[in-house]
Amino acid sequence: MSTILSASNVNKRFKKFQALKNVNLNVDKGKIVGLIGPNGAGKTTLLKAVLGLDSCDGELKVLGMDPFRQRANLMKEICFIADVAVLPKWIKVSEALKFTAMAHPNFSIDKAKEFLSHTKVKMTHKVKELSKGMTAQLHLAIVMSIDAKLLVLDEPTLGLDILFRKEFYDNLLNDYFDHERTIIITTHQVEEIEHILTDVVFIREGEIVLDANMEELTSQYFEVMVPADNYHEALAAKPLTERKVFGKHIMLFHSDSRDYLETLGEVQRPSVSDLFVALMQEEETA
């Protein structure tokens, strides 16, 4: 499998603040990676380095290129949505498509028009006349019509309502993703994307605290509903977290096998967001 992105010992400093600390990361072709972390963890800093928008120290290669030095070239193979608000307000939908068609060698304007025909976005609209959700649809339509090897989405659904968010990811998965492409997504709404991810990367204070694929994750982390009787026994097994719901203790364990845990109570697959919270808290107490 070919490597799309490789970072080794990537560091980034803003004056006194160390935004990225020795980041090591590899992303292979065909993955959908969720880059998840609290506010200010360095997600956007990392993505900016990947997109060649900002410099960084250490070795960073995207599609074999140094992103900061070869940004314009790299952008033929990468596309990204940084935030829903970045399309210029004054531009008309038709102009945005025409511009992209002329500037981008791998853009198919017919595809974009086809995507937009399923939405309320009209060719004559200006971006400032569109709602937030429609702007996101337009941006997604542009990006999905680019035949790119890597798609980077930084909080693509920020500020959209649940209907738009669901549609956004449905479109992405059904109409775009084909295992030849690679997608990196950052978001706070982990629950909504966890079913589409193949890999998760947790980042905290500039460090990568977890880099695993979803299968690994579900074979190593377990959520157990412990009845009151088994509470002390379960505590002795050192859960990562525990919370109490309707008289039962829900505990999260890191374990190699689920056999023992099943004697304690009902075992479930933990959600990525619970796992995220647990790992972030673990780091804090450690």
Binding site: D54, A85, P88, W90, I91, E95, M102, A103, H104
Partner: protein, 320 residues
């Protein structure tokens, strides 16, 4: 190349209002003023002698067709001067925002997500200032002058004068259009150092590029002035004066790319003794001679430095 064309079209789309509507408004105002002037003059004269102005015109022009050539030359040269002036103002503010506005509204992230280099982005702004905007103004100027000619023809017709033999045969419209087109080019060459400086400020400023663009030169002059004052050095004052003179030459030519403005004003005051000055071919040759004065190379160098710096900043610093 295709990408560069796309960038130029993008500038046109974004600034259609300034590049196209501004000259259209000037053209409309000019035409309306012509109509008002005609109507008002008629109202004044109607009780006295009835269209005396036109009658008078008819009499004198029947004697000398050169008078009508002179009148149209003055009128069109004036309109062209106004267009040059407004063009500079429009381009001034266009450049000031050109590398700043998209950073402010974060749309730079969209532009940078496309495979377009920062070099061509900045150069497209230069080309928009030097070619696209002047071209828009040129087209509208031609249309405006044509409308004025047609209006004038109607005024003549209403008063029983044949506009074709009197007006169209004597007004050299094509030369005026050529003179304005060339004027735009000369103007762009003169204004290049100013344009470069504006691009640099636009790329540099974290907010309010106008303050940088105007404030930095003002500060430099103040400091130089004080230094000269404290050292009681006549030489320092002379240097300052030279810089001021050079700068005002640049600005005057950028605003109105004609030579011999002083002669022009003089001749108007004297009642139009020197008809030649308003002749388009004379205007063109005066612009031409003026611009290749050797010292203009300093302007080019300064512009090149500013534009290179703007590209560098855009490339390596401006990400958000």
């Amino acid at each position: 190349m295709n990408a560069f064309k796309a960038l130029l079209m993008r500038e046109y789309w974004e600034h259609r209002g300034a590049f196209l509507k501004t000259p259209i408004i000037i053209g409309i105002i000019t035409a309306v003023m012509m109509i008002l002037a005609y109507l008002l003059v008629e109202n004044v004269n109607v009780k006295l002698t009835g269209g005396e102005g036109i009658e008078h015109l008819k009499q004198i022009t029947e004697q000398t067709n050169t008078d009508i050539t002179y009148i149209t030359n003055i009128f069109f040269t004036g309109l062209e001067g106004l267009f040059h002036f407004v063009l500079f103002i429009v381009v001034f503010f266009f450049l000031l925002g050109s590398l700043f506005d998209d950073r402010k509204d974060l749309s730079i992230l969209f532009w940078k997500s496309l495979p377009v280099s920062d070099l061509s982005t900045v150069l497209s702004k230069v080309a928009a200032a030097m070619v696209v905007a002047p071209l828009c103004f040129w087209v509208i100027l031609m249309a405006s002058e044509l409308v004025c000619m047609i209006l004038f023809s109607f005024f003549l017709l209403f008063n029983g004068v044949n506009p074709f033999t009197l007006l169209w045969a004597n007004a050299d419209l094509l030369s005026h259009w050529a003179a304005f087109g060339m004027g735009c080019l000369i103007q762009a060459i003169w204004a290049l150092p100013v344009y470069g400086w504006l691009l640099l400020c636009s790329a540099w400023a974290k907010r309010r590029p106008f303050i940088w663009a105007v404030g930095v030169p003002a500060m430099v002059f103040m400091v130089r002035g004080w230094m000269a004052a404290f050292t009681f050095s006549g030489q320092a004052f002379m240097n300052l004066k030279d810089i001021m003179m050079a700068l005002s030459t640049v600005f005057l030519n950028a605003l109105a790319p004609y030579e011999s403005r002083a002669d022009l004003l003089q001749s108007i005051r004297l009642g139009g003794g020197n008809n030649g000055l308003f002749d388009p071919s004379d205007i063109m040759s005066s612009m031409y001679h003026n611009v290749f004065s050797g010292k203009i190379i300093y302007g080019f160098v300064f512009a090149a430095i500013c534009i290179s710096l703007a590209i560098f900043i855009r490339r390596y610093r401006n990400t958000t």
